[in-house]
Amino acid sequence: MPLIEVKNVMKHFPVQKGFLDTLFTRQKEFVKAVDGISFEIEEGEVFGLAGESGSGKTTMGRLIVRLIDPTAGQILFAGQDIAKIRGKQLRLLKRRLQFTFQDPYSSLNPRLTIGNAIADALRLQGIGNKSEQKQRTKKILERVGLSPASSFYDRLPHQLSGGQRQRVVFGRAIILEPEFVVTDEPVAMVDVSVRAQILELMKDLQDEYSLTYLFISHDLATARHICDRIGIMYLGKIVEIADKDQIYTDSLHPYTVSLMAAIPVPDPKAKKGEKLPKGEIPSPINPPSGCNFHPRCPKTFERCAEEEPALREVKKEHWVACHLYD
């Protein structure tokens, strides 16, 4: 049984309108951030969710750990639907599902020492007394490489480098010993020369704590490096899912193809000249009819504008939502 099963989840954010607009217009507009997504994550894997801005990947991550509530659909965690849990049950759930934020600068309370920031996880969950919390925090500090723990415990976030702060963020996420961690762009705001260190830390923590990761990123080079499988999102829908090799060497969806071709490569001799799709990502308030990508797709045909393609497994462990493969 997969650890996480997402079934037809939707999240529509109502568009804030001015006072007069609410008076005179009847229609409510929605930002369809996540518009009917289904996929599964197996225990122990690193599943990547990649896409550009507006694709809904961050929203999806937040939905799985219930930082926000889905508008519709089911989210199964170890077989149990958690889409509608509330109150105390939700709080307990947070011990098993954790989320790390992208920006190490603003995801730490500037007034809390990093020791207290990590210990707070235990305090907010009512685990242990003060000295136990301190002990466990010190162990975690050592574990994430912030050694000696006693000296780092009392430091404030602004006294640490970006890479160190990101370690604190991870420390805070794993001190509750969760089973599943969603990491939102964990290295995007960390210097290039330090990124691999954080990724290595993530891998070590995964081995030690038997974690399953959902790795959200727009940086496919990093995603291919660390993920086992990658799902590509476009405008609130998943367009393709495959393992990390197939998604690049055998991209099926035209969007995936252009995405892979557009990634800058640190090699001046690399071949360029793939045709790029025209225009930009349309607004998620008014997505195009039929297939979301059809206005920009170089291989579009009549059916694409009328009918939305379903996500199908066209090869072993390779799913794509495109009429080209129906």
Binding site: R91, K94, F99, F101, S107, N109, D120, A121, L124, H158
Partner: protein, 421 residues
């Protein structure tokens, strides 16, 4: 004594002038130095002039508080030394300082009983409060150089304002013991005499000694200021917090009410409320508080609305924090610094409004010694050429308000780059 503090103050300024942090003109530094030096010199000379007081305890009180303050300074030096050596961590060092100060306070009890068996408690209160005020002044002048250096000129503004306020507070605290005449007593001297030996600041039209009134007149004003700030804080902050956190109708209604109050010109509203409530310190404080609560409310609300959306608050939620946890533990501590700026401006404004209320005749019974009353009477006397009645109390009001304002300005400047960082 006044001279040595002034000299060392100027000395510190001169050192800092050599490496200006913001590109302030030299004139700015000089003006600031003059303001601070002037205030302290003025306060000191008033105290010296007055120390030969009617109760005979003037000099012992001044000496006693200075001794207290100096002892605090010595302990403070000791503490710095021990921290540098590593024997104490800063936290323990501060506890040490506070502990010894309390010890000093306890030691002063038998001393006060010895000096004045009948009213020893009042005397003891003066020793402690006055001594702590002097002690803080001395400790700042010595130990805060590094803090100043780091903060640059905004720190200097804050310290200047703080010292000015403390000097005036000190003078007010010991005023009972050092005034040559009871400030409210009429006909202790000839009517409306200009400054001359015997009455260094002159007399009022009721024959009251202006020196005594100048020294003692700040008490009511300070009480009103502190009280109104307290009321504002404990009403404005919770309301602002609740309103911005809950949002919705409650937020809209409260904001509307606060904006309505805010739209009123402050002094007029205060006068109206004071007229309704009648005279008295608490009523004056309430009148001023009502005028100021909207500021606290708005500032806190806008801070909370911003901070509430920041990732670290959401991160706390991801760990299982309830609304209550995030509100008190994460949002409020980060929103409070901006409130501190509002508080100091509030102090300044409260002082001026209190003077204004008394000037208009509201707020206090006529026989209480208060700078506001001297303004009222002195205003009428100006035509007859008696310039001194309004001038000296007027200067003290200005210096007190200025002190608070400088603290607020300096804090504002300090906090803004901090937020950017």
């Amino acid at each position: 004594m006044g001279k040595s503090i002034t000299i060392s103050g100027v000395f510190i300024y001169l050192r800092l002038v050599q490496e200006p942090f913001r590109d302030r003109s030299k004139l700015w530094w000089i003006v600031l130095g003059v303001i601070l030096g002037g205030t302290i010199a003025l306060v000191a000379s008033l105290i010296i002039l007055a120390a030969r007081s009617s109760s005979g305890l003037g000099i012992p009180v001044v000496v006693g508080t200075i001794l207290f303050g100096v002892s605090m300074l010595v302990v403070g030096l000791f503490r710095t030394l021990l921290i540098r050596q590593g024997t104490f961590s800063p936290r323990i060092g501060t506890l040490f300082l506070v502990g010894i100060t309390c010890l000093l306070g306890v030691i002063t009890i038998p001393v006060s009983i010895f000096i004045l068996p009948a009213g020893w408690f009042d005397l003891w209160t003066v020793f402690v409060m006055g001594g702590v005020a002097i002690g803080i002044i001395l400790l700042f002048l010595y130990s805060r150089y590094s803090w100043l250096k780091e903060r640059g000129s905004p720190g200097l503004l804050t310290i200047t304002g703080f010292l000015m306020v403390l000097a005036i507070i000190y003078m007010t605290v010991i005023s009972y013991w050092i005034v040559p005449y009871d400030p409210a007593d009429i006909n202790v001297g000839p009517i409306l005499w200009p400054p001359h030996p015997g009455f260094p600041l002159g007399t009022t039209s009721l024959g009251q000694d202006l020196l005594s009134r100048t020294i003692a007149g700040g008490g009511i004003m300070l009480q009103v200021a502190f009280l109104s700030v307290l009321i504002c804080f404990f009403v404005g902050v919770p309301l602002g917090l609740l309103s911005s956190f809950r949002g919705g109708t409650l937020d809209r209604v409260l904001s509307l009410i606060m904006d309505a109050i805010f739209a009123f010109p402050g002094l007029i509203l205060a006068i109206a409320i004071a007229a309704m409530l009648g005279p008295g310190v608490i009523n004056m404080a309430l009148a001023i508080a009502v005028v100021y609560i909207p500021s606290y409310f708005r500032v806190l609300r806008s801070q909370v609305l911003t901070i509430k959306e920041l990732p670290y608050v959401e991160a706390a939620k991801a760990l299982g924090a309830r609304d209550r946890d995030t509100m008190l533990g994460y949002v409020l501590p980060n929103a409070l610094p901006s409130i501190i700026v509002v508080m100091s401006i509030n102090f300044a404004d409260a002082v001026l409004t209190a003077a204004g209320l008394t000037f208009v005749g509201l707020g206090l019974p006529i026989d209480v010694a208060d700078w506001g009353w001297d303004l009222t009477f002195g205003w009428h006397q100006l035509i007859t050429g008696a310039w001194w009645v309004i001038t000296f109390p007027g200067i003290m009001i200005v210096l007190l308000a200025l002190g608070f304002t400088l603290v607020g300005e300096g804090l504002n400047e300090i906090l803004t780059p901090m937020l950017k960082e």
